[in-house]
Every structure is written in C-alpha cells, then in structure tokens.
Symmetry: C2
Subunit: 570 residues, 2 copies
C-alpha cells in the first residue's frame, strides 16, 4: 500500500554502489546540460531566467519520491513554458510582480489538478487528446516558439502568442536588428545544427565509442554556452548592445505562497487544466517509451500524483509549471541514469550552481539560448507523420489541421480545445452513421457475409441485418431509419434478424429505439429477432422489459436463426 | 429538386374536396384550442400575451410550405417559452421594449441556425442529446414551469428561472396570496385533471363514439377558458384584484425588423443554439411518431429548413421562437387534419381572432391560463422512464440526474449543456476501456469463446485476443496495456492473434498504437497477427505502412489462424 503511493520504497532497498556511481555521473552531466535549457524556458514564459533554475530543484526531488518512472527528468519544458506565457500574459504584464505571482498560482492549480486526477484515477482523461491533435499541437507550438526565438536571435523582441501578433511585432521592430547579436545567434544555430547532424559520425571516425560519441555530440549546447559566454565576457559584448542573461540573484529559492485571489484563480483554471493535460501527455509518453525499453512498468495514475507533487513544489519555491521533459529525459537516460537518484543529484548540482555560481552566467548571450531552443523545438515538427495522417484518414487529418491552424492564429488554448472538440465530434459523427450490411449465407458454411460483396444464399422472407457499431444515443435514430428502409425495400418480409456480433453496448437511448423498432415492425406484421448478442450486452438487456416485449427470439448464432427459418428440405 | 425544397409541391397536386373538408374542420378546432395556449406561453416567456398569437400565424404558414410532416402544428411551446424567458431575462428587463427586441433577435438567430443546419445537412446534431438527457431536461423544465405557474394560480408572481429563485420569490410573496384568484385557479386545475382522466370514459358511457369522446374531453381547456372568462366578466373579477389578460391590441401582426446590435447577438448566440436543438428534437420526435403511424416519411434536414423558416417568420412579425408542439400537434392530428392546409386554416382562424375578437379575451383570468399550462406540462414528468433508466444503466441515469439537478438549480442552459457533455464523456469513458477476452476454440466447431466463460481448447504458444470495441484515440493506450499484460501473463507465448470482428474503425491514434504493439512484441520475440478484419477497416489499413511492418499475417477467420498454428495431428 505504502509502496504504491511512495514508489521510492520499491527500489531503494535494492540500491547499491554500482547504481550510485551511474546515478552520480548522470546527475553531473544533466546539471551541465539542463541549466541553459531551464534559463531559456523561463525567458520563453516571460519570467526571469532564475525561475527556470528554481523550477528544476524541489520539483525534481518531489517527482523522484512520488513518480514511477526510473529515469524521467522533470523541470520546465518548451511547450509548457509557451502555454504558461500565453496564460500569464492574459492576466498580468510580463515583468511585473503580479506576473510572477500568477506563475505560482498556475503551478499550484495545475499541481492540485494533477494530484486530484491521480487520486480519482482520472488518468484516462489524457486519452481524449488524439495522437493527430497532439502532433498538430506540438508542430504549431514549435513554429510559434521558433518565431519568438527568431526575434531574440536578431537582437529584437517580438511579443504575443499567436503567429499574427508575433510576426507583426517582429516586422515592426525589424529596423532595430542588431548585427552583433545576429552573428552570435546564427553562428550558434549553425554550430548546433551541424553538431546534431554530423557530430556523432565525426566523433566515431575520430575513434570514440558510439554511445560516448552520441553523448558528446549532445553536449553541443553546453559547448556553445561556454564558448559564447567567454566570448561575450572577453569582448564586452554587453556594452555593445548584445542582450545577456545578466545578474541572477544567487542563493536558494525563496519560499513562496501563491496569492488567494479568487478572480485570478478563476481566470487561470482553464489554462491550468490544459497545461496539466498536455504536460501529462508529454510526460507519460516519454515515461512509457523508456519503461518499455527497460521492461519496467509505469502507473499512469501515480504519475499524475508525481507530476502534481512536482508542480505543487514549484508553487512554493518560486517556480513555474513543470513536467517530464523530452530533451532532459533523453539526456538523463543516455548519461546512464539508473534510478530517480540521478534526478536528485542533478537537482543537487543545479542547486549548487544557483547558490554559488550564477555570476558565471552573467555574460551568457540571450541569442545563444534562443538558438538552443530553436534547434531543440523544431524536432517537434513531424512532417512525415502529418503526411501519413493525411493519407490514412481525412477525418483525423482535419482534426490535426484545425489544431495547427487555430494554434497558430488564435493561440495554444483555442488550438488544443478545438482539436479535442473536433476529434470527439468526428468520432461521434462516424459512429452516428454506423456501417451495416444485409448478409446472406456463404453456401455450405456457417458463415454470413454482405450480399453486396459476396455470392451468398438468402431467404426471401427473412432479412439478416448486421450492425457494425455499438448502439447508443448518437446512432439510435439512424438505426430506426435503417431497419424501416429495409422493410420498405423487401415487400415479402416476415422476419428481421439483427446480428449483434459487433454491438458492444446498447445504452438507454438505443434500448428505446429497439423498443420503437419492435413496435413499428409489429404494426407492419414483421417479427424482430436478435442474434449473436454478447454476454455483457445480454446481461443488461435482461434488466429491462425489452426481451419480454420482443416479438421474436434471441438466437445464439446467425446460423441457428438461418436453420430455424429455412424451408424444410424434406 | 424543387419538390425536395418545397415539399408542398408533392401533395398539392393530389389535393381534393374530401381532404379540404377534413382540414377545414381540424383548422377550426385547432383555432379554438391553441389560442389560450399561445397566450399562456407568451406570458411564460415574460412577453405580452399577444406575441403568442403573432407567433402562431406566419410561422405556421411557413412551416406548411417548407416542412415535410403532414400534421405537425408549429407555434409557441412550453419548454421553448421557458428557455426564451431564461435567455431574454439575462439581456433585458421583462416588460421593456428591449426585451421585445431581444425576442425577435432570438427568433432570427434560431431560425438562421436551423436553416443553416438543414442546408449543411447537420440534422445528426440533434442525436447528441441522448434520450435520458432529453427526458431529464423535460421533467425538470416541467417542474420549473409548474412552480412559476403555481404563483399565478395563487395570484402572485414569482420571478426567476431556477428552482431556488422561483421558490424564494414565491415564499417572499406568499402573504400577498389572493383567495379569489386561487379559487379560480384551483377550480380550473381540478376540472382539467378530472376531464383529462375521466372525461373520455364518461362521454363514451354517455353514448359518444370513442374518437369524438376523446376530442371533446380534450376541449376541456376551451370550456374552462370560456366559463372562467364569462364568470370573470359577470362578477367583475378584475376590480376585485383577479389578474386578467386585459387589453390585447387588435389587428394584424406588425412587421418587425430585429435590431443589429452585435453585443446582443453574441449574448443570444448560445441560447439560440440550445433553443434550436431542443426545439428540433421535440418537433422531429413528434413528426416521426406521426409519420410512422401513417407510413409517411420525414426528412430531418428539410424539417430543419421548415422550422428555421417558421422562426425567421416569427422574427419579422413580432413573434417569439417557435417549434412543432406536442399538444397542439396531438390536437391537430386527432381533429382529423390530413395535410399542412389544416395548419393554414388554423393560422387563418387565429388571424381572424387576432384581427377582430381580442376584446373577447379581455376578462380571461391569468389563473385559468396557469392551470392550463400546469396540467399540460406535468405530463412531461415521466417517472416510469426515470425508474427504468436507473434499472437499466447507472451511467445513463447519472447523465439524466445531472441534467435534472442542474436544470433545477442552475437553469435550463446549464442543465442541458452538462447533460450533453456528461453523456458524451461517459460514452467515451466506456469505450476507452473496451471489453476484451482471451478466447479458445469450442471443441469440434469453428467457434471461439472466452476462456473464462466457456470450456474451450487453447494452444499454449498462441494467445487469441478478441477486442470488443472500435480502436480509436480514447482506447489506443489501453489496448497497448492489455496486450502487454497478456504477454507478461503467458511466458511461453510465441504468437498473439488480435481478433477484430468487433472492430469497426481503427483511427490514426490506434494505428500508431498497433505499430507500437507490433514493435514491442517483436522485441519480446512474439509475432503479431490479425484475424477477421472487416472490409472497410482493411481497405484503410492498406493505405498505411502497418501491413508491411506487421511481423505476422492477417487471417480471414480465427479458425484459419487456429489451423495454421495447431500442432500437426499426423
């Protein structure tokens, strides 16, 4: 019981020196890698850079204790930072104290929702985000982020959270373009793209083992940060107008208490829900992929609790909404992390830097961070997947397209909400007009197939109708129409057999429709039968009066019905 | 083509004197019966009584030309009047000119939406209202209406559109209770209940034919109106403080043009949508019931156009939102109407009254109208249906209960929206955790059944898994879990066969999950096969790369897979 709610207890007793060694090494590597990321994502959300560091400390510790994934790394991530910025800019001015306060409230609400969803076992909620909607949302968010970072690369700053506002503010300020900044930004960008694409093969030809080469190639951002910081310091770039990170307050994160302002809470409720769900989806996808690779198990509901705990921790230590991040988790995993202790060590490392070494980050150019984000984020635009969705299903594609379009034009919230509504609506629409087929017997067998697709035997006075869908409110009326049309089409009809092999559910609306069909067929002198009703469906029908009112019988199989109605061959 | 959009053309050429006679008679009867109703529903919506008459004129004519039902009678109805009142009181003060204006805008928006939904063939939209939600909504609306009418019965007036506001305003004004009014109200109420329950049997024993007796018994409200109006006039009840209808402006309805006030339009958009959908559901249910009885056909999309036309007509002739009414249609049908001309004649009759005889209605007590509404409306509370839903399905019942509760406490809009959201959510939840069964072969047959429910043969190295649900985004993740759990449970497993006989759809999310399952099974050394994939599903799979990547085969039947894997008996 205790183990279920504190997963740390299930692996801690087996901890040993070998695991410790691996975890400490991973912790050191992750520390170096995620500091620039964390600063960058805080800036992306419109918050001071140090907030990104704070959000990488206690939240990571909480997840290490409560989460079920062994190597998931929790902290600020790009998409959540974008959503945070969009939500906060609706309720406060970036840079103001109210904006910082709102970030805490958003973390608190999001954390509380995640914990509540976990305790209420509502992890299935995340399933309402279909894969095409997620893919569309990630791709268009990445484009939004890339546009906002393009401004930083050029030494100007574009405001807003839709493509239109970003592009217009970019265009308006284009005359302020700052050439030295652009040089650093573009230089870093090219270096990062090159090291990502050619780094590993190059290092392997230079004699490094493949895994080590991969890790070194991934440290490109760290190299870029160190190099451009040194350059900026040596050349005094700040005086020449290049934006740098500047003074970061040293010391441990402050203890903070989110304000109890009901109006603010209400305004942030919906954004917090969306951030929770999107963050959970990103995190659980990563965690499940890693667990499958290592044959471990993830508990989705406990993951909700773990991520919720992390966000609550962010709320009380001056942080921002966090989740299990794609890139930081990959780094952690490839650095050889074996248990959540790796996360603890990384938190320790980042804590040490926050406490003592923030002055080292003073000269780090913002353009370097922008280049880092841009390269990381554009991997989220998965063109082949978009193309494949188009080919496979126009309906899924339309939900994806709507998500992309509305995220770009109206912002992240409108995009994801319309994607969800549209995919649910399209699913209901598809099931509201179920495929059905009048079937006949394949001669000499007990099998029945559509009379339109196959050469089959039929009986003139019996219609065998197979319904290929669960019967529920959205298609109840359609079922009535379908049956009555068949009766109108075959004048000599005496029996209708509904084959229910694909009917997994009959809800109360469909039950009423079945009663209506039974009644209307009775008036027309036609008997209604059922066949192949599944166990659970039958159990439920027995709780109603329908089986008593049914004019015909319930056959175990279509073949049994066939034998009952076929003219005696004697 | 023209016939499709002007259904009147399909029956007009066959019109004859016999039909004319029946229609004229029905028109006269309906005129007498629906005038009190129309006045009462206008008052219910907080509008002047005459608006109810206006809304029974041109709208009925438009529906007669555009609608596909032969005997549906269109005009103001109780539920729509309640919803209209609730919507209007949010944007204007009852009794003000702005309130009247808003009623026109609401009719216009509702009419435009209905026409648009009809032309876009969106009639299926109404299917999203499940029967339990509709039943719950009707029952709780009826209770709200009954409470508001109870006030009129007692000679006081209760304001508000939720149970709480109605009851508190009723309690606050209870000291103003007016005994003469209460006497008339209760007297009428008892007379109506008695004539409804005992009228027809009594008249039959008195020697009338059953149909005539039914019609006469239904004319109870007309008798009550005539009797109490005469009483009120003779005794001068108005001077004694009994509220009466009073002066109704005579003459034809004014030509009105709804105001172009964008703020108002936006505020009324959601109410108009709900009124359209609820009105359409009430109307189409009546129309389909009648059509089935007479073996005629209804076109749902053309019905939308017909009702939309009626509401647009209401908007330009000083009316209020209308739809096909339950009670007025039953009266029309039982009075012997044969074609939409009956509706035209009734409109003519009501027009005549509006033009010349409104002074006759001056002394009609409001309490009489309240009693009429109360008796009519309480038939909408269908307790047996509520009980049956509880027995049949807790999930459907919970949607119904939420609708009832929220309609009573938060009002009609909150009630119906939460009902729809909840029934869709519950359906998705049910399908998100699909029933599945590991099956084995019934010895000696080609049939396969659950190994938990039946005595069946199994093969140690092959798992046959039947999935009883379409595979889509809401259950994609669950499918992965189910398959991997089975693999973990049977250590010697070499093959997994997914039996897809109940899978009617595989969307893009589920396709990705299948690809992931295939990949993960491959890593575990297990081959994945499919069996009994339906034609349309297979066609779609062929458009993806999945079948190329699939480690195993696609079998036509489960038995074919069984034969391929069973140890050779030789």
């Amino acid at each position: 019981m205790l183990k279920r709610y504190l997963p740390v207890l299930s692996w801690l007793p087996h901890y040993n020196r070998r695991l410790l060694g691996a975890d400490v090494l991973a912790g050191v590597i992750v520390t170096a890698m995620v500091i620039p990321q964390s600063l960058a994502y805080a800036l992306l959300a419109g918050l001071p850079a140090v907030v990104g560091l704070y959000a990488s400390l206690l939240p990571a510790v909480l997840y290490a204790l409560l989460g079920t994934s062994r190597t998931l790394a929790v902290g600020p991530v790009a998409i959540i930072a974008l959503m945070t910025g969009a939500a906060l800019s609706n309720v406060a001015t970036p840079g103001s104290a109210a904006y910082l306060q709102a970030a805490l409230v958003l973390s608190l609400l999001s954390g509380a929702m995640l914990v509540a969803m976990g305790l209420l076992r509502l992890g299935f909620f995340a399933n309402f985000l279909s894969h095409p909607v997620i893919a569309g949302f990630l791709a268009s968010s990445a484009v939004l982020i890339a546009i906002s970072q393009a401004a930083h690369l050029a030494g100007i700053s574009a405001g807003g959270y839709t493509a239109l506002t970003l592009l217009t503010s970019l265009a308006e300020q284009l005359h302020r373009l700052h050439w030295p900044t652009l040089a650093i930004g573009l230089g870093t960008l090219l270096f990062l793209v090159a090291s990502r694409r050619y780094g590993q093969p190059l290092l392997i030809t230079l004699g490094l083992a493949a895994p080590t080469a991969g890790l070194v190639a991934r440290s490109g951002p760290v190299l870029a940060v160190v190099a451009t910081t040194l350059l900026s310091w040596q050349l005094g770039l700040e005086e020449r107008g290049v934006a740098v990170v500047g003074a970061i307050p040293g010391g441990l994160p402050p203890l903070t208490l989110p304000e109890l302002d009901l109006g603010l809470w209400r305004a942030l409720l919906m954004p917090a829900l969306l951030i929770s769900v999107v963050g959970f989806v990103e995190s659980i996808s990563m965690a499940q992929m890693l667990a499958a690779k290592r044959r471990q198990r993830i508990s989705p509901n406990q993951e909700l609790v773990g991520l919720g705990g992390a966000n609550l921790a962010a709320a009380v230590t001056g942080g921002m909404p966090v989740t299990g991040g794609l890139s930081r988790t990959v780094i952690n995993d490839e650095a050889g992390a074996r248990t959540p202790f790796a996360g603890l060590f990384a938190a320790l490392g980042i804590g040490l830097v926050t406490l003592l070494f923030t002055p080292l980050l003073y000269h780090l150019p913002i353009a370097t961070l922008a280049a880092t984000i841009t390269v990381a984020i554009l991997t989220l635009v998965d063109i082949p997947l978009i193309r494949q969705t188009w080919r496979y299903s126009r309906s899924d594609f339309s939900a994806m397209a709507a998500t992309i379009l509305l995220t770009l034009t109206e912002g992240v919230e409108a995009g994801i909400i319309s994607g969800v509504v549209l995919s649910i609506g399209l699913f209901l629409y598809r099931t509201s007009r179920p495929h059905s087929a009048v079937v006949g017997r394949i001669p000499g067998t007990e099998h029945f197939r559509s009379i339109q697709r196959h050469e089959v035997e039929t009986l003139g006075h019996v219609a065998f109708l197979r319904i290929d869908e669960s019967l529920y409110f959205a298609n109840a009326r359609y079922l009535e129409d379908t049956v009555m049309q068949i009766v109108a089409r075959y004048p000599g009809l005496e029996h209708v057999v509904l084959i229910c092999s694909a009917v997994n559910l009959i809800d109360a609306s469909a039950l009423e429709s079945l009663e209506a069909i039974n009644e209307r067929l009775k008036e027309a002198g036609v008997t209604l039968h059922l066949a192949e009703v599944k166990g659970p469906v039958m159990d439920r029908l027995k709780r109603s009066d329908f089986l008593d009112d049914l004019t015909g019988r319930v056959f175990l199989s279509t073949f049994a019905a066939w034998q009952a109605f076929k003219p005696s061959t004697a």
